[in-house]
Amino acid sequence: MNRPVILTTPIPTWQEMADFYGLSKSDRKFVDGLFATSEAKAGTASAKRLSSARTGKNSLFEAKSSARKTNGRARKRA
């Protein structure tokens, strides 16, 4: 009973699994975008983190306002 089963059958792709479970078109579309969305979100977040690490600013707003200040000072000096 406790002997393991050695699996030799091919591993299905998620699309083959969707066929196996008889997934509807809308659910298939949903799964298709499932982790892509979270990866994209994670990508955006990591890009923001990278950008703030480079600029030393916490947000895009701070970076913009800082740029405006610098430009203003530069104009005054000129």
Partner: protein, 208 residues
């Protein structure tokens, strides 16, 4: 048993577990772990309607090459008259009978949380050692890895890799809830979506 036997899906596993919110973590662990190993879970929650339910359960078990029976849920339910649920031991009996009668190669596994309790609760299964998962997610993953072996890289099928799939499935739940309009994961549509989400998270069938 039945005049016409259904086609056996060689990657399909009949998952006999309690459908209870308190069991949710382990339910997700079973789905994630099995799919990570390249298997396809099936469960009675996919069966709709009460008509011919027993026949449908038998057909479902017959269509699966493997079955997992989690007998760790040994308790009385809340509302009076307080009763134990017999569905899981009953379905284990059906699977054992089908395993012995059918010609197709089948295999059933019993999972438990407490060591040696099965000998007391179901002594007819003496000689059968259950897989003890200690009511832990890692325990379920570990025991699934002990029950099913696949000749791919060790790292790919390690418990940490399976846990990664589990965590990805966990993250997908709010989106699955939105898609199905329900927070009840013990229903047919969320169950199927969880299985396929686990497949996508594990990268099943991808080059490995």
């Amino acid at each position: 048993m039945r005049a016409r036997e259904p086609k056996v899906a060689f990657n399909a596993v009949f998952l006999n577990i309690p459908y209870d919110e308190k069991f949710r973590r382990l339910y997700l662990a079973y789905i994630s772990g099995l799919v990570h190993l390249g298997l396809q879970p099936r469960a009675t929650l996919e069966i709709s309607g009460a008509e011919n339910r027993l026949d449908k359960i038998v057909t479902l078990i017959q269509s699966c090459r493997y079955s997992i029976h989690d007998l760790s849920w040994v308790k009385l339910d809340g509302p009076p008259p307080r009763t134990p649920r017999f569905n899981m031991p009953f379905e284990l009996g059906l699977a054992m009978a089908i395993e012995r009668i059918d010609r197709a190669q089948r295999k059933s596994f019993v999972f438990e949380a407490v060591n040696r309790r099965l000998a007391k609760s179901l002594s007819d299964l003496s000689g059968i050692d259950p897989h003890i998962h200690d009511r832990a997610i890692e325990g379920v993953m570990r025991e699934l890895g002990n029950a099913f072996v696949r000749r791919v890289s060790y790292r790919r099928l390690s418990v940490p890799a399976m846990m990664k799939t589990y965590r990805a499935v966990l993250r997908s739940i709010p989106e699955i809830d939105r898609q199905t309009g329900s927070t009840d994961l013990f229903r047919a549509r969320p169950f199927r979506l969880l299985c396929i989400a686990a497949g996508k998270a594990a990268g099943v069938g991808a080059s490995r």
